[in-house]
Symmetry: C2
Subunit: 369 residues, 2 copies
């Protein structure tokens, strides 16, 4: 039953608890037949050791954790799979922990480090502004992966700073790195592509400005592109996710496109800061009787698998998921072994042109200035 302990097993086998423990942990100092006998009893009894007790006692364990905020985001699926594989190959256990919306990822991390004697952590999703003091508390290496350039805020002064690798080590001796594509640049490139196709009224579906995440960076890239090409940035062409609705979701993209198109029927292109949003937007646009890309071009971001299965196939900014995942784990282990210093690693993003974008509809009456 459930409250069988290692002691019961020991008694039943006529050995001491330590011998059972040795059998359980593949310890070399045990006679093979003793071990076999013990394992047999364990199997019969259905005994399962209590992990709380094990981890409490153990001084260390070869494990890292993946803390994921927004696990339904298909963009993370591949990353998780690759990272788990890589860690496994290095003889490490991976703990995959879903961080709820209302939870703070760093707090969760702290608890987990203690509980499971973690050696390293990867954050996927979530904020990219954190309290410096809280960050200081984490005493294992950690990496923010695909979260943008993480920034710290001083609780007292409220001062925000984008700490470079040097400052990060010097002042705070924290050990963390960021790996991400250059969100501002890539977004800018996406919008520039639309501009190059002749689009002038370009909308954006993004996250609210209140939450400091990649959405902000991508919005910045959007504005930059418009500005550099002499296009004005209109309030009504910017749709921000409402509170209460999941940001990176199809319904949100759907709402966004509807709202945008109602606010400005002359919009001819829309940049969605994720592919999932783009899918939602496509549906709305289609239902409003507009053709993609003949009437309206849609461009996404992330490069999830679905993008190439959707109709029309989505033009998107493709993040090199597998490479990012590999780099993340490689660097984390380097940091764990003190072989690498914290750094910001920028990965290249690729504009993948497929079927959801095309030239701006010519001669649209009101698109003339």
């Amino acid at each position: 039953m459930s409250d069988t302990t290692i002691r019961d097993i020991a008694k039943q086998c006529g050995v001491s608890v330590s011998t059972v423990s040795r059998a359980l942990n593949n310890h070399p100092d045990i006679r093979p037949d003793t071990k076999e006998m013990i394992m047999k009893v364990i199997k019969e009894t259905g005994f399962v050791p209590n992990d709380s007790a094990r981890y409490l006692k153990r001084s260390e364990a070869n494990s890292i954790a993946l803390l994921v905020k927004g696990i339904t985001n298909p963009f993370f699926s591949t990353m998780i799979r690759v990272m788990e594989d890589m860690a496994h190959n290095r003889g490490f256990m991976t703990i995959l922990r879903h961080v709820r919306d209302e939870e703070d990822e760093v707090t969760v991390a702290q608890a987990l480090i203690k509980e499971r004697r973690l050696k390293g952590i990867v954050f996927l999703g979530g904020k990219f502004v954190h309290d410096q003091n809280v960050l200081d508390q984490l005493d294992v290496p950690f990496i923010f992966s695909t979260i943008g350039n993480v920034v710290s805020v001083d609780e007292n002064t409220g001062e925000i700073q984008e700490i470079g690798p040097e400052g990060r080590q010097g002042r705070h001796k924290i050990r963390y790195a960021n790996i991400a594509v250059d969100d501002v640049e890539a977004s800018c490139r996406a919008v520039e592509y639309l501009i190059s196709l002749g689009h002038k009224k370009i909308g954006i579906i993004t996250e609210g400005l209140d939450c400091p995440s990649v959405g902000q960076l991508r919005l910045r890239g959007y504005k930059k592109a418009l500005e550099e090409h002499g296009l004005s940035c209109e309030e009504r062409l910017i749709f921000e996710a409402r509170e209460g609705i999941e940001h990176y979701s199809m319904p949100n993209g759907y709402n966004g496109a509807r709202t945008l198109l109602q606010a400005d029927p002359d919009m001819t292109a829309v940049f969605c800061i994720s592919d999932v949003l783009a899918v939602g937007a496509c549906r709305a646009i289609t239902e409003m009787g507009r053709a993609i890309p003949a009437d309206i071009s849609v461009i996404g971001y992330d490069g999830i698998e679905l993008g190439s299965y959707y109709n029309p196939r989505l033009t998107t900014i493709q993040q090199p998921v597998e490479q990012i995942a590999e780099k993340t784990i490689a660097m984390l282990f380097d940091m764990m072994e003190n072989k690498a210093k914290p750094q910001n690693l920028i990965m290249p993003a690729e504009l993948v042109i497929r079927d959801s974008t095309g030239p701006a509809p010519a001669g649209h009456p009101s698109s003339q200035d």
Copy 2:
């Protein structure tokens, strides 16, 4: 730092460990200002209690676990969200645990029960055949949700039996329930709908027969429909997921449709045992130059959100996700409080007709018998 313990806090506050513990656990027997003072120090120090130690000592905790096999399956997302909410409303913590492909869900459950003093478990995804002895070992109530009618196998005799509620209680005094749609019936209905549209050559994209999961049930429904309508079941119209590739995935659906269409170019409809597969199939069909539904009809299963966003919008068997989730938690709690007996609960599935299905192309030369 990381190895601050409750004792350090006690020392720093000039109180005993038990007082700190009381502050930590909202125990009533503590003077408000003492508590406040302690909490302040805890906050400043950034102290985080070690969960291993807490759970080791605690005799019980108000928590249940959701064990999910195949967490990338979007079908589970909604279920997870609803269940977490409901458990939360009842004052319970939910532990969401991803079960890897190579892990056995019941083994994971056993470990977790001990470690976290769970009061109940929900299994999402995974096999529906389990070793009766292993099942017996779980001594908290548990529910298989949307896994089909769970079946037990006797390790010695190899005998498989679909245990009804009574037998389940009587012989084994285990406490588990199933909640699911009638997969055979629903699949049969889906295929019958295709037949009613005049389709005769109907393919299926399903899981391998080697793995005892819902795939088998849905395949059975497919065969039943063909049989009852006097259509023969052709080997070449059945595509089973290959080993090594994720079963419920778009690439798998893509391969499936290609293979099927090459094997029999006259196929006019295909039943996919999940919407994700259907999306993959649609892509392949489109790329092969066939129109949906004019040339080929596609029907899915699950009723995920994406289905109504895809082009064409997917006809599908919709599982009442929210209701299933609610029922699951409600019944689990009833079982935990001994208010409900184990049972098989069949939920109604609905055939949702959208745009991916249509009448069989008329007068196709080779479709005549």
